[in-house]
């Protein structure tokens, strides 16, 4: 039988003509050579003798740049902005489906913002395949080199955004060349997403002083800026009303007065974002939502006479909305101990208010006028926030 470009060779079973025992001695010589060699160090790949032990953990091997262990999220050192835009590509690419993302919302408009609110990776089930890092179009998720993850706490391996964030300066220490390849595009994309992120959204929540300072600055700015139903009560300290809360209340009132039922519905929107720890704040938000809803309903009812035909329907809607809001509000304080219940009540109140708002504008025949008023109110709010 013939084969292309090569021969078939039958292995020769007895090559050497050795006397009994010589084969053993020959083998022992090999072992002996290795023993002698073990007194010096093996320098490179071309040598087969010598020790090549690395005394871990005192000594460590230099890991190649491409080495991948677990995925981390990276953020910009300068601005503190995370590169991730919550596009879900990584979550879709992940074979064991261990990436869970929640996208951030603009509290102003309720629209999605290119940033993640929460980003969870189950490290315990991650198979370190690196497909997430390859799929990410924003170079926001990268494979870390840190491998000493052993723990007796399995839930500790559920890594949240705060645990996953690493600065670019860290990534450049482990993989400078890989970062250089993508740097330009990544930073350009980051600038684009920063423009679409209001307030502190998308800024890494901790770490360097510089970023903390920048965060405070932005927060202060937001607080100083009047109305903007925007920063309404983001996790307010229990008890006292924070400036933001006050502003939110004001905005809600004003919006309600202006007749725009729509902004009223938005004011309580941030309620669900409350940190669960702040039960009191949640209660507050719930009450506020109820109030806002009431006001909105009243306002639309007040406007209704402009269109006397549908007066009754408008009134009815207003009353219904008010009732719903009241019920929600009544429920909220009933469970002040239970954080979850408080949050739920807040969400429910917000929903009720929203529903009321949705219902209210349907009533007046004079739709145009109502719409106009709403737009005007929104504009006014915007102007003030600017």
């Amino acid at each position: 039988m013939d084969i292309q470009r090569g021969n078939i060779i039958v292995m020769d079973r007895r090559r050497g003509k050795l006397r009994a025992g010589q084969g053993l001695l020959q083998g022992l010589k090999v072992v002996w050579d290795h023993w002698i060699g073990s007194f010096r160090k093996n320098e490179n790949f071309s040598q087969i003798h010598g020790t090549f032990t690395i005394e871990y953990p005192d000594e460590r091997m230099k890991l190649p740049q491409a080495y991948r262990n677990m995925p981390v999220l990276i953020y910009d050192d300068e601005t503190g902005h995370e590169l991730c835009t919550a596009c879900y590509q990584c979550a879709r690419a992940c074979p064991p489906e261990v990436i869970h993302i929640t996208q951030a919302k603009d509290p102003n408009t309720g629209k999605m913002v290119p940033a993640s609110l929460e980003f969870i990776i189950e490290y315990d089930a991650c198979m370190s395949c690196g497909l997430c890092a390859e799929a990410c179009p924003f170079d926001a998720i990268k494979m870390d080199h840190f491998f000493e993850l052993a723990t007796d706490d399995r839930m500790g391996l559920l890594q949240r955004k705060a645990d996953l964030n690493r600065p670019i300066s860290y990534y450049t220490t482990i993989a400078p060349d890989l970062w250089d390849e993508v740097k330009e595009g990544a930073m350009k994309k980051l600038q684009g997403s920063i423009k679409r992120r209001p307030g502190v959204i998308g800024i890494a929540g901790h770490l360097s002083d510089k970023i903390a300072a920048r965060r405070r600055e932005l927060e202060a700015e937001a607080a100083a800026a009047p109305p903007a139903p925007a920063d309404a009560a983001p996790a307010a300290p229990a008890g006292k009303l924070s400036p933001e809360e006050k502003a939110a209340k004001l905005a809600a009132m004003r919006a309600a007065k202006a007749g725009g039922a729509a902004p009223a519905a938005e004011a309580p929107a941030p309620a669900p974002e409350l940190s669960p720890a702040d039960a009191k704040a949640a209660k507050l938000a719930a009450i506020k939502a109820a109030n806002a809803a009431k006001k909105a309903a009243e306002a639309s009812a007040a406007e209704a006479p402009a269109a006397p035909v549908d007066e009754k329907a408008a009134k009815l809607a207003a009353i219904r909305a008010a009732n719903a809001a009241k019920a929600a509000a009544a429920e909220a304080p009933a469970a002040p101990v239970d954080e979850k219940a408080a949050k739920l009540a807040a969400i429910r109140a917000a929903n009720a208010a929203k529903a009321a708002a949705a219902e209210a504008p349907a009533a007046p025949v004079d739709e145009k006028a109502a719409k106009l008023a709403a737009i005007r109110a929104a504009n006014a709010a915007k102007k003030k926030s600017e």
Partner: protein
């Protein structure tokens, strides 16, 4: 004549020399084996069904976990199957990188397999330690190219994940200097060793016809004297560009399997040398830029196979035109090579079972899937 009684004993599933969780129901008459039934399935992890709920690319890291010694070769077979199904071109350079990785895999697999075989014979860790050291060097190379030592996940549809890092080639050339020295040394240690000869010569003979009827492949089949190597019989990738020989055995015993594997390491080194020569002229990048990773193949089916260090690894994929394979079947060499174990062991002693099993070179991750 003394009348003896047959006895049935279990070897495994938890046994240090069964190379994983593998059980053999052995019927012995004194020390002699009269029957042996392999029982597998202890490491079953639903690989094929999982693959059917994954997208095509998501299966790539899972193929690493079939035969975890040779993740590169597994990747190659799977990538070939999907490329055939979708019709993706692979640039020349990518082909060279692929073959380079797969041949390095062959060396490291045989270095490890022979080490474990000698370990099974009772020489403990001597040859294993020497083999593992060479294997570590190759794994270092894999790590620098793919990012991982074992679960490389390096192949993509239309190429490989990334090009070689700058320090890869110098280190590979160093390694090629060490390789003949290592193989020669291994031969000196093993080839004429009287103990090894006694444990392996004329033990576990698998005749040609039996091997073929069991569809055994790889070094096992070649040791039985059949010059069948898919790289020659049905050249895939760019294997038709390299000169290399196919070693075969004369008897088909454990000793022949050792010799064939040693020679295959030499041949793989020859291929790698030719790759180093031809690589600089290769056209294209490490991956076809037009190849989409999130493939949606047309409805149809495909079978692609490669010669992994253990034998013929084939992937049979059925596509219904969606993002996920409708059916995904693995033809695993370890599994099929293991089936004639009973025939090979009959008539030999209990102590030979472990040696014969070691000479098949199985990885339970691939046997059970």
């Amino acid at each position: 004549m003394l009348k003896t009684e047959e006895l049935q004993i279990n070897i495994g599933p938890q046994h240090p020399s069964t190379h994983g969780v593998f059980r053999m129901i052995v019927t012995v008459d004194g020390e002699t084996i009269t029957d042996l039934k392999p029982v597998f399935g202890y490491l079953h992890r639903n690989h094929e069904q999982i693959a059917e709920v994954n997208t095509y690319l998501q299966n790539m890291p899972y193929t690493d976990r079939l035969d975890y010694f040779n993740s590169m070769a597994n990747n190659h077979a799977y990538a070939l199957a999907v490329e055939k199904l979708v019709g993706i071109e692979v640039p020349e350079r990518a082909e060279y990188l692929r073959v380079l990785m797969v041949e390095l895999t062959r060396i490291l697999n045989h270095a490890g397999a022979l080490g474990f075989l000698i370990n099974d014979m009772g020489a403990w860790q001597t040859q294993l330690a020497f083999g593992m050291r060479e294997r570590e060097k190759i794994l270092d190379l894999f790590e620098s190219a793919s990012g991982a030592r074992l679960m490389c996940n390096y192949f993509r549809f239309g190429g490989v994940a990334r090009d070689l890092p700058p320090d890869f080639m110098p280190r590979l050339k160093d390694l090629l200097i060490a390789m003949p020295a290592f193989v020669d040394e291994m031969e000196r240690l093993l080839r004429e060793n009287e103990i090894l000869l006694q444990r392996s010569e004329n033990i576990g003979i698998l005749p040609k016809e039996v091997a073929i009827s069991y569809s055994v492949t790889g070094p096992m089949l070649r040791a039985s004297g059949v010059p069948y190597d898919i790289r020659k019989a049905e050249p895939y990738s760019i294997y038709d560009r390299f000169d290399f020989d196919v070693p075969i055995g004369a008897v088909g015993d454990v000793y022949d399997r050792i010799l064939v594997r040693i020679e295959e390491m030499r041949q793989s080194k020859r291929i790698i040398e030719q790759i180093i020569q031809q690589l600089p002229d290769a056209q294209g990048g490490h991956i076809n830029p037009k190849a989409r990773q999130n493939v949606r193949p047309p409805a149809g089916d495909v079978y692609a196979r490669v010669e992994t260090p253990k034998g013929e690894l084939g992937f049979y994929l059925v596509s219904d035109g969606s993002l996920k394979p409708y059916r995904y079947k693995v033809r695993a060499p370890s599994f099929i090579n293991l089936t004639p174990l009973g025939d090979m062991c009959r008539g030999y002693k209990v102590a030979d079972v472990v040696v014969i099993l070691g000479s098949i070179d199985i990885v339970m991750g691939e046997v059970d899937r």
